[in-house]
């Protein structure tokens, strides 16, 4: 049935454990690659710079709906950054920041995106590794 397919897909997400206000363990079991993470943050399809700006002198098209990412690695631990990427609503239930590793509880998701998280576990780890390098 449809429900079964949706569940099977949702179950395709790597399991993670929230401890306190973070996720301590890598979603992939391996550290991410910060250089790949930077490229991902800058890619339009990842959607970060629709809302955020940051230390990205090469692009003019940055958003201002959200804090500048400069210094994010000072303000947050890796564990907190990982949880924010996975499900930012855990920090602020009204946030407009999407949950990047979640595939359930959403309304009218477009056909091409249904049942899938916005980013893969490996992409999240790359971005987390990059954010951790953003120190003032």
């Amino acid at each position: 049935s449809l429900a079964f397919v949706a569940n099977a897909r949702a179950e395709g997400l790597a399991p993670y454990e929230i401890i306190g206000d973070g996720i301590a363990e890598s979603l992939t079991g391996a550290p991410g690659d910060a250089a790949r993470g930077r490229a991902l943050v800058l890619a339009r399809t990842t959607t970060c710079i629709l809302c955020h700006s940051g230390p990205f002198p090469e692009t003019r098209f940055q958003g201002d709906l959200a804090p500048d990412l400069t210094g994010a690695g000072n303000r947050w631990t890796v564990s907190q950054l990982r949880l924010r990427m996975v499900d930012a609503a855990r920090f602020n239930p009204d946030t407009i920041m999407p949950s990047y590793y979640r595939a359930d509880g959403l309304v009218r998701v477009g056909r091409n995106f249904a049942g899938k998280p916005i980013l893969s576990a490996a992409e999240i780890e790359d971005i987390v590794a990059y954010l951790a390098t953003l120190r003032d």
Partner: protein, 277 residues
């Protein structure tokens, strides 16, 4: 309370069940709220057309009818207005005469309630109803050049006229449906229209200024489209933007959203055919 403080309120031990509970409360509050303005809705005297968010070049293009690309569609519409069509062999003008008087103010109150259908219809749908019922002609497809030209021509007769849509008390439940859709988060990015257009207008989404989503200029010429487009086309592209499944053209949900936007813009002057980036 700023976001950092809220973080500490919510940081510990919030499981998924609690989160859904929170979302449910927010949703229930929205649904239960009748016409009184919700927090975050734009007060009447703070409303601004998309025009006011544009750069000087784009404004100048809209201001000058000789350079406004939408005016070519208006001229086409004027030609179609007097052209006989369908097996009834009648032109719009045969029944409605001079559009400058008969159509003045009409677009400003659309979508309007249709008694026979017992639901609101958009201006495009009304024109196609006239084609079906009065001209015995096939409907013009959504976003086709002819429907855009006719609706631009009709709506142009209301340029400068204050929007009155939503006055009819029969429209009330449909306006509310539209408002609920405007407030509803959707798509893979989980964003509602209100998140951008009530709470964050004047900020920038990547390079683009976010406007208040005022529907004053439709159909309008969008530089990105390189053509005229309807309000429904615009709404569908915002839905696609948040990776939601856009409603089909003419779907009751799109009509309700359009009606809500027009009612939300009551009193603002029509600009058809506007120009937008």
């Amino acid at each position: 309370m700023d976001r950092r403080q809220r973080l500490f309120v919510h940081r510990i031990g919030i499981d998924h069940g609690r989160m859904n509970f929170w979302r449910a409360i927010v949703l229930a509050a929205l649904v239960a709220t009748a016409p009184a303005p919700l927090a975050g809705e734009i007060p009447p005297d703070a409303r601004r057309s998309g025009y006011s968010f544009m750069g000087p070049d784009t404004r100048a293009m809209q201001d000058d009818d000789t350079s406004s690309p939408g005016m070519l569609f208006v001229l086409d519409g004027e030609t179609l207005w007097t052209k006989k069509a369908g097996s009834a062999d009648k032109a719009c003008a045969d029944c409605h005469g001079d559009a400058r008087s008969s159509m003045k103010g009409v677009a400003a109150r659309y979508p309007a309630f249709d008694k026979a259908l017992a639901r609101p219809v958009t201006l495009d749908q009304r024109i196609n109803l006239c084609r079906a019922n009065h001209q015995q002609a096939a409907p013009l497809p959504y976003e086709s050049r002819d429907i855009l030209a006719l609706s631009a021509f009709v709506a142009h007769q209301s340029r400068g006229v204050a929007i009155t849509a939503g006055d009819d008390p029969q429209l009330k439940p449909f306006i509310e449906q539209g408002r609920n859709l405007f407030m509803q988060r959707e798509g893979q990015l989980n964003l509602a229209c209100t998140n951008c257009h009530d709470d964050n207008f004047e900020k920038r989404l990547a390079g683009s200024p976010i406007t208040q989503a005022q529907p004053t200029g439709y159909p309008l010429y969008r530089l990105e489209w390189q053509t005229l487009g309807s309000l429904e086309r615009r709404l569908r592209s915002c839905m696609t933007g948040v990776r939601a499944q856009a409603y089909d053209y003419g779907a009751p949900e799109l009509v309700a959203l359009e009606l809500y936007l027009m009612a939300r813009a009551r009193g603002m002057p029509m600009e058809t055919p506007a120009v937008r980036p």
